[in-house]
Symmetry: C2
Subunit: 288 residues, 2 copies
Amino acid sequence: MQVQQQIDTLVVAGVGLIGGSFALALKRAGRVKTVIGVGRTLANLEKALTLGVADEISQDIGAVAHRADMVLLASPVGQMGALLAALAPELRPGTVVTDGGSTKSDVAALCRQYLPDHLPWCVPAHPIAGSDMSGAVAAQYGLYENRRVVLTPLAETAPEAVDAVADLWRACGAEIHCMDAAEHDSVFASVSHLPHLLAFSYVDRVAAKANAERCFDFAATGFRDFTRIAGFQQRSHPVQAGSVIDYRAGLDRMAALLEAGDAEGLNRLFGEARAARTRWHQQFLRRG
Amino acid sequence: MQVQQQIDTLVVAGVGLIGGSFALALKRAGRVKTVIGVGRTLANLEKALTLGVADEISQDIGAVAHRADMVLLASPVGQMGALLAALAPELRPGTVVTDGGSTKSDVAALCRQYLPDHLPWCVPAHPIAGSDMSGAVAAQYGLYENRRVVLTPLAETAPEAVDAVADLWRACGAEIHCMDAAEHDSVFASVSHLPHLLAFSYVDRVAAKANAERCFDFAATGFRDFTRIAGFQQRSHPVQAGSVIDYRAGLDRMAALLEAGDAEGLNRLFGEARAARTRWHQQFLRRG
């Protein structure tokens, strides 16, 4: 299976936090010669040129696809279908196509839909990095140092293509994990997307209160931490109806304990949750 | 209205983070001569003596009440009824009774129930301070510096009693706010108790998942911040069924948007929530 190993030209669609930081780290590591930044907003592309995040820019991925040794789709997942459709007729065999989306089953389905003949070179990926900034100005050299990147190769993906992507992420300082797309989506629905939704929904409810100003005035560090992810960009809207409904069932049980004034039941639930959170935090600190 | 102004002897029921830190700060400021620590657990009381948090200790508040110029109930609200019942026959007129509970309507009701003749000297209070530590070892000199303390006097409370309590909290470095108990409870239900419950319930749901270990393994900084308050002591269990139900209604609307794949509606909701959170955070940073 012929897979492009030396990546001279990297096409990055979506030159923001995720794509821009990948480009900066690889250029600093001397792992790519030319980064072509692709996007819809000319102002952001020109910013990317000025900042040295991209060496060339284009608003038409189809026009530059044939030059790519690797393509990173770092746009919202909602825009990837159109990008893949534009790529399909122009890609050379051997050009690795990867992405930075935070959901993977949908990206895998898009690859099958738009690149059915290119699947050996498709490597869906999820770099675990977030920020409250966006656009080319958010790109950082060190964003991926000691961060995790999850690769979810398709059954058809060539091992050499996985290696090529893993190799570049490691050059950015990241640690590679592989799992299948369904398990990835289940894990990140729980630990990332659901808290995002819960925090957004929580802030929305507080802001809707008659005494919202007073509430915000007395909101302190607990509120700050609980809502921090509500200040972050949501890079996609994975359908989390299922996990929202599961969470809501937990709330119903708690509301019942509260209405019953069952302090013992609440203490048990809170105590177990505190213990689980403490165990997790100790592991997290060891993880470094 | 005769109100004890010079507080020579302070009785602190519940020598932990809240009560112990109040005692330490006032002793350092030279504002109290003698702190009598009252509690149920002898080991913690002896620890308080060793650490200099208390000068004397007792397991029977009734036996020391007559010596008190001020009593601070820093126990969980659930234990305050029993403490007030034991105090009632022993209190001198003029002895100020205050507390550190995070809910205030219930404390006001307990004062009316157990100290009907002592209401002029009752000053329900809520120092806004939390920690993941408890017990006398959690007591800190500086805990209340630049923190807020909300006083919720009763209609019957003497202004001089409010002044006496405010004065001591200011000596701890705290900023005083007064509001009625109902408004206090509405504000803190929104910005403190509800996030606590939501975080506890969230951790409980993740821990219950078949792939919980894998979920915890990939939980990162977003999870850490969102769940931090789940590592904190819940000092009481205010019945939040109402706010839980209101929050759940918000989740229902979001689940509907997700099921409908209404990306525009979700973007609007998330965008407004992000903007509200960003505005709040700018105010919070200015607050210092």
